[in-house]
Every structure is written in C-alpha cells, then in structure tokens.
C-alpha cells in the first residue's frame, strides 16, 4: 500500500515556497543584517577615506564618552517624551478608523479617507514651508489669532515650550489617515453577522462600535503597539531637523537627530555609531520586555 499522493508531494511544495521566500530573505539580510557590520566602526577612530582596519583602534572609548556626554541624556529625554506622547496617542488611528467606518455615505467617506491619507506623502520640507507660512509671526494663523484676540503674536515655531505638543500635532496630522488603513482593513474582516445579531438585540451604532468593532481591533492594536515599542527610540530626524532653531533646539533634539549631527555634520562617525548601538540595545530590550508583559496579560506573545 503506497503513501498518499498528497503526503508525498508535501516536502516538494515546502521547498518551492522556501525558494520564493528567498528574495525577500535576501532583502532583509542585505538591508537589516549586513548593516550590523557597521557596528565595528564604533571601536575604530574612523576617518572617511581611510580603510577601516588602518584606522586607530579605540576599543570601547566611544561608549565611555556616551556616559559623560550630557547631550545624549538630553536627547534621550526628548526622545522618550516624544515617544511616550506618541504611544499615548496611538489609539487615535483606531478610533479614527471606527469613526470613518460609521460614515455611511460612500463618497464622503472616501473623500475624508483620501484627504487624511494624502499628508503622509508630503515631505517634511514642504510641511515646514507650510508651517512657516501659517505659523510664523506674519503667518496666516498667527495673524488670525491676534486679530481674534486669542494669540499674543508669538510664533509657535519659535516657542521652546510648545515643541512637544506642536511637533506631535504635526506628526499626527501627517500620519493619522495612513495609520488608520490597517484598522479599516481589520474592520472589513469583522464578521457582519455579529453586527446583525447585535442589531437584533437592539444595539445602535455606538454599542456596535463599542462591543464589536473595538474588541475586534484590539488584537491588531496590541500587535502594532508592541511593534511600536520596538521603534520607541526611532523617531527619525527629518521633522526635528527642519523645525530646529535656537529657541527650540534644547527640546527638539532627539537621539536620531543628535546622531545625525554628531556623525554626519561633525564627521564623528564612530561616536555616532556607538550611540546608535546603545539605542538599538535599548530598543531590543524594550521590545522583549513589552512582549513578556503582553504574554503575562494576554497569555500569548507577538514575537
């Protein structure tokens, strides 16, 4: 009696699937793992143009400097503040998706979705120009606020104390629509029978959203939240670099921007890499901790 055909073919099919996976594995390997080789720059005094192994060996000197550099601490503090505010506002895309889903008029829903998604594709340089036109002392919004007797005429762009909320506001405006797409997909996957059953039981829009839509999206939210913790310190630097000026510098300089300034502007590559390594280690630790917490609370892990 021979083995079933399906069983005999199974190993062959797996092999083909693995083969198809190969290009993507190669991409991940090339762009995520090969760059880790760059960490070696942190133990040399790298000078552009000089072969790495001909540069002076510094050991862990650059890591020691990190602990004596007040700017790292300041940049870390700013990074944490931006990240925590970002985390606190992380349910916004989910709530926005729920609200968007409640709009029954198709064209209006599509218009709002497109309108809120588009800013994601606008570069920070353009956004800075827009912000300058709107929020500078002579800007449209600042002038309107003064005329309305609300504002003092001081530009929010030159206010150090407004940095955290204003930059968060810009980031949310830019990314809200885009971030909500994954939740809209999750909503589309919810079994419609659940809604029908709820309606039969007398539930209205609000109760449907609260008891069906929201719980159905929590799983997605938790996964994204934990992945977001992995990117806790990866705030990027473009936005902050553009909006940085003498008045905002103290509060706006995040770790990525500091690394950019140290590494690329001051050509202190090795020190910049050392800071990045520490940042990566902190990020990995945060993800692992978050995953463990998730396991404790939910009984399952994400990674």
């Amino acid at each position: 009696m021979g083995r079933p055909v399906a069983c005999a073919r199974k190993p062959k099919k797996d092999y083909r699937l693995l083969l198809m996976l190969l290009p993507f594995m190669a991409l991940v390997f090339l762009f995520s793992y090969v760059p880790i080789f760059g960490w070696v720059y942190s133990v040399f005094d790298y000078i552009p143009g000089v072969p790495l192994f001909e540069c002076d060996f510094m050991g862990l000197d650059y890591f020691r400097i990190i602990f004596t550099d007040d700017n790292v601490l300041r940049a870390l503090k700013n990074t944490f503040i931006f990240a925590i505010i970002g985390m606190a506002l992380s349910p916004l895309p989910m709530l926005f998706a729920i609200l968007l889903n409640e709009i029954k008029c198709g064209p209006v829903r599509k218009f709002i979705q497109t309108f809120t998604t588009l800013p994601n594709f606008i570069s920070w340089v353009i956004i800075f120009s827009l912000a300058f036109a709107l929020f500078s002392t002579d800007g449209l919004i600042t002038s309107l606020l003064v005329k309305a007797g609300i504002g003092s005429g001081t530009s929010v762009l030159s206010s150090g104390s407004s940095v955290y909320w204003f930059q968060t506001f810009l980031a949310q405006w830019k990314g809200l629509g885009w971030s909500s797409i994954i939740y809209l997909a999750a909503i589309a996957g919810i079994d419609q029978e659940l809604y029908e059953a709820a309606r039969v039981d007398g539930a209205g829009h609000f109760r449907c959203a609260l008891h069906i839509t929201l719980p159905s999206m929590i799983e997605t939210y938790v996964v994204l939240f934990i992945l977001g913790i992995g990117n806790f310190l990866n705030t990027g630097y473009e936005q902050y670099m553009l909006f940085k000026n003498a008045l905002t510098a103290t509060n706006i300089e995040v770790l990525d921007l500091y690394v950019y300034r140290i590494g690329l502007e001051n050509m202190d590559y090795s020190y910049g890499v050392a800071i990045s390594i520490v940042k990566s280690i902190v990020s990995i630790t945060l993800v692992v901790v978050a995953n463990l917490v998730a396991k404790k609370l939910r009984g399952s892990t994400v990674i």
């Binding site: 198809m20 190969l22 000078i47 030159s158 008045l247 510098a249 690329l264």
Partner: protein, 607 residues
C-alpha cells in the same frame, strides 16, 4: 503545472538576482594609477598652451599627450553641478579645446564626498577643505604632484614657492611631498583694490537713507539710528507687509553674528567662527569664550550686542531665530528689510526694482564698517580650499595638466575677464575690455549671453579663486573689471546717485577714503598663511568646539532678547559658565598653542 513550477523558480531567481545586482558594485573600479597614465595612448605630445604664472608671466608650456579625447570630472564642496546650467561656458570650452577633454562639474556635500572617498570613486580633480585632508592623505587618494612637474609648470612656478612649501610642510602628513594646491595665490606686485562696492558692512536701502538726509554712519549706534528713522518713514511695504531693519540667517551657524562683529571690530574668522584673527596684530582670539580677554570686544559679542540693540529698538524681525536664508531672500525681495550685514540676500530685490524701473533709487547699497573685507594677501592661496588629483583617476596626467592650467595667469584672466576677444590689447599696449563686453554685462537683455560667456561664473571662480589684486604680465589687472576706468561703468542708477550725492567716484571710495584718513582698516595686515599652517584639529577638540558652538547658538535668543543691560550681562555670564562646563578652556588652550606653533613655522618660512 511544470510550466508554473518553472516560472515560480525563474521568478524567484530573477528577483534574487535583481536584489543582488542592485547592491553590487557598478564595476567602475578604476585602477589606482599613482604614476603617469596613458600607457596605451599614442605618444602624440602636444603643446598644451602657454599659460603663464599668476603675475609671473613666464609663459611656461605644459607638455603632455593630448591625442585621446577624455572626460574629466571636477568635484568639490564649493562647486555646483554642471548639468542643467549653461555649460560648457566659453571659458570652459577654451579649456576643453586646449586639453581635448570634456569637463563635468560635480557638487559635493560632506556626505557624498565622504562616500566617494570611502569607495575610491571621487572625481578626477577634487576640491576639499581641511577636515578631509587627513583622510585623503592616509587613504592615499591623491597623487604626488611632484611626479608630474614637467607637465605642471604653473603649479611649480617660482611665484608659487611659498604656497608649495606650505603644502609640502603642512598638508602632506609629514611626507614632505606636494599633494594639494590652493587656488589663486596673491603674488608680489599685487595692487590695492577695493572694487566698485563692498559686500559686507552697513547695508541700507539707498532711497530711504537719502530721504532721511543720509546722516553719516560711523558706528553701530549711528546705523541703528538711521534704520530707525528709515522705518518711521517706511513702516510697511506697498503691499502692506510689516517692515523690519533686518533679521538673522539661521542656517549658517553663528555667521550672522560673528561676521557683523568681524567687520565692526577688525577681525577675520577661522572656520566656524569660534576663533578669530586680529587683522592688525595677527593674534588669535577666542571669539565666544572671551573670558580671558575682558578688554577685547570680540566679533561674536559685538554682533550679539548689535542685534540686542536692534531688538530693544523694536527693529528686529520677530522671526529672527526661525528665518533661514531662503526665507530671508524672500523677505528681502518683498521689501520687508531696510538693512543687513551682507548684500548677498538683496540681489533679487535690486534686480526686480531695476527691471521695473532702470532709474530707480530703490536699491541696497553698502557703507563700510570699521573694516572693509578687501586687500587680504593670500600668499599661500585660499585656506580651506585644497585641490588634488585623484589617484583613482583613469586620466591622471590629463587631470594634472588641467589642474595646472587652472592655476595659470591665463586662466585667471579668462575666468575673470572672458576669453580673448572679450578683451583686447589697446593702443597703450594694455588689455582692455571691449565695449561690447561691458554692454553685455550691464544690458539686462543680454543676460543669457553674459551667462554663456562664463565670465565671473561661480563654478569657475570656485576653481580659480578670487584675488582681485593680482596684476598680469601684460600690465593689466587679472580682473579687467577692476581697472579704474571700468569700475564705475557697472554701477546702478542708485549707486551713481549715491556717488553723486556723497561726492565719490565709486561707492567703495568711502572705505578707501576712510583708510587714508585712518578711520577704517582693510585686511592688508592679515597673515593668512598662519591659518593655513595650523595642525589638524584633534577629534576631542572638534567635539568640544562643536558642542560649544551648539551651546552658543542656543543661548543667542536669551542674549538678543535681553531687555536691559543687566539681563544681557546675566545671559552672557550663563553662557560663559555653560561653555566653561563644556571644556571651552581646553579648546582655547589647544588653539592658542596651535596658533603659536603655526606662527613660528610661518616665520621660519620667511613670511
């Protein structure tokens, strides 16, 4: 099914190959030459021209194989890309024809230069500044120019002796070889030259300044009083926009402040402006951390005090700390500023007003501060602008020949004054610009033609440098636009009106007269070679300096926006304390020692 399987495999392999190919080397790995190239070329030796040496006029001929047409790239951090512009210009065409090459220009920023250096893929001729010298030398990216002496007569001319000694002694990592050249060396016989107008000083809208009775401006207080009076008669633009005296530009570090202070107090800045050189004593002064020099008003503090006064008078743009050069240019063009410290940003306003009315008085003019940025003797060439020929070049010999030509008197003349024909030898035996060339520059309808001529082209100027004082062997100035009889021809209507009103021939006479009267100074006393001979700054000092600069930038708002002298003093004390905590004293000590060492070395060189 078989077909599907095959397609799946082929697709996967293709995707993988595509990914790998995208990350691979372009295969443009030119073999390092190190010596003279062109082994496969025919030995068709051609006279590559008779470029003399700057002011030397030796007429030395560069010999080399020019039989094969090659493409030559010149890249640098002060250059612009040649694509998309009027290129090649008449001037560049002459170089191309002379050396049978096609020249392309590449603009480098720090990142792209470092990337090219790391990959050994730089241009054939590269221009760098001090911070890349160590990498170029240790990485063996530059060829020793001494190996090509026979085809580089201009580089090794007698007039370049000091420059060459400096390059060999201080820019060769102790090897004693010459890898670099600096552009446009000031040579013996250079004349005093102030040009037609100044670029930095007390910048003013001439129409308004004239309207308030053009009061004499001797110092910052006079200037501020004039700006205040101008604002009173012109509080807003014709479009209803608010008008301010000026603003700062925040994308150039501390330049706004220390440059203003340099021209007011008589200093010249080192890169970054943390340290300055006294133009009269040639001493190094710590610009920001001036705790050790309580009697000296350093440029930074002078500049900051000036902006503080403007603030207190309500003349400063409230967006002063968020304005970048682009915004500044825009506001100048809209007529929202009345003054400034440099005339770089006023160009569009002047141009627009002149286009609308050729006889307008609405133009920015520059009155001199204490020091006029003129007559600096760069006897070792421009510091911070070092050219070398890449050892990775496939055409080292041709690159050396072109670089050598860029150093010649002949090229300096054509870069500044145009190719022969744009100027001609007059009856007096001296060169003169033709009437057509002068018309081409001043006639707005011939703007494109002017651009195509390549005269005063920024890319060419970056290669050749600016040394307006040098004389040519033919008895004329290298830059024929600086000849006294031509200077006044390029003045705008407003400048002519200014000259008529103030009794001048050209606007720069204000500086010249001031120097003669002993009230102003220029840069003739500066020994720029000391800056050139400074040793490479160690990384720990660079790190301290960078941190100090950042601390100073962040402290400026509290200084400029101080409402009283006490508040200003408190803000200053805090900044000095912060700088001290950031080890500014270690930096000052290093720089002072390096300066003294350099000064001694320059004295030993006999300059």
């Amino acid at each position: 099914m078989k077909v599907k399987q095959l397609m799946a495999v082929v697709s996967s392999v293709a995707l993988l190959a595509g990914c790998l190919a995208g990350c691979g080397d372009k295969g443009n790995d030119a073999a390092p030459s190190g010596g003279a190239s062109g082994g496969s070329e025919t030995s068709d030796s051609v006279d590559a021209g008779d470029g003399g040496t700057e002011a030397g006029g030796e007429g030395a001929a560069a010999q080399g194989d020019l039989s094969e047409h090659v493409e030559l790239s010149i890249g640098g951090i002060n250059l612009a890309n040649s694509d998309g512009k009027v290129w090649p210009t008449e001037v560049i065409k002459q170089v191309e024809e002379k050396f049978n090459v096609t020249i392309i220009m590449k603009s480098y920023d720090k990142e792209s230069l470092n990337l090219d250096l790391s990959g050994g893929t730089t241009c054939d001729i590269v221009q760098i500044n001090d911070e890349n010298i160590e990498g170029v030398l240790r990485g063996k990216h530059a060829v020793s120019l001494e190996d090509y002496k026979d085809i580089a007569p201009n580089i090794f001319a007698d007039t370049m002796q000091l420059r060459n000694d400096v390059m060999k002694q201080f820019k060769s990592a102790g090897e004693g070889k010459q890898y670099f050249v600096t552009p446009r060396v000031t040579v013996e016989g250079a004349v005093m030259d102030y040009g037609a107008d100044l670029f930095g000083g007390y910048v003013l809208r001439w129409d308004l300044y004239k309207e308030i009775g053009h009061p004499e401006i001797k110092n910052d207080d006079d200037y501020i009083a004039a700006l205040k009076a101008m604002k009173e008669i012109y509080p807003q633009t014709e479009d209803g926009l608010p008008v301010y005296a000026m603003s700062a530009y925040n994308d150039s570090g501390l330049h706004t402040y220390f440059f203003k202070g340099c021209v007011t107090e008589g200093f010249v800045n080192l890169e970054g402006g943390l340290y300055v050189q006294d133009v009269e004593t040639n001493e190094l002064v710590a610009d920001i951390y001036d705790a050790a020099n309580p009697d000296v008003v350093t440029p930074f503090w002078s500049g900051v005090q000036f902006f503080n006064k403007l603030y207190r008078e309500g003349l400063l743009d409230p967006d002063c700390f968020i304005t970048k050069s682009e915004d500044l240019n825009d506001k100048y063009a809209k007529g929202q500023y009345l003054g400034g410290t440099v005339n770089w940003n006023c160009g569009n306003f002047n141009k627009n007003q002149k286009s609308a009315d050729p006889e307008t008085l609405k133009q920015f003019v520059v009155l001199p501060c204490k020091m006029g940025w003129a007559n600096e003797g760069n006897y070792a060439g421009w510091s911070g602008k070092y050219f070398y020929v890449s050892s990775h070049s496939e055409n080292v010999e041709r690159a050396v020949m072109v670089l050598d030509y860029l150093q010649s008197e002949e090229f300096s003349r054509i870069a500044d004054s145009g190719v022969e024909g744009r100027w001609e030898i007059g009856e007096d035996g001296k060169p003169h610009l033709t009437a057509d060339t002068i018309d081409m520059k001043t006639n707005p309808d011939r703007a494109k033609e002017w651009e195509e001529s390549g005269i005063d082209n920024s890319n060419t100027t970056a290669c050749v440098g600016v040394a307006t004082n040098n004389m040519a062997a033919d008895g004329g100035m290298i830059n024929l636009w600086r000849e006294p009889d031509v200077l006044a021809l390029g003045l705008s209507y407003a400048e002519k009106d200014m000259c008529e009103t103030l009794g001048l021939t050209v606007p720069s006479d204000l500086l010249k007269n001031g120097i003669e009267a002993g009230t102003n100074i220029d840069m003739r006393g500066v020994n720029a070679t000391i800056r050139m001979c400074l040793e490479t700054t160690p990384k720990d000092i660079l790190r301290i300096d960078s941190n100090c600069e950042e601390i100073a930038i962040n402290a400026i708002p509290s200084l400029v926006q101080a409402n009283s002298d006490e508040e200003f003093a408190a803000a200053k004390a805090k900044l000095l304390e912060d700088l001290k905590n950031a080890n500014a004293e270690t930096s000052v000590e290093w720089w002072q020692n390096a300066w003294e060492t350099s000064k001694s070395a320059v004295e030993q060189l006999g300059k």
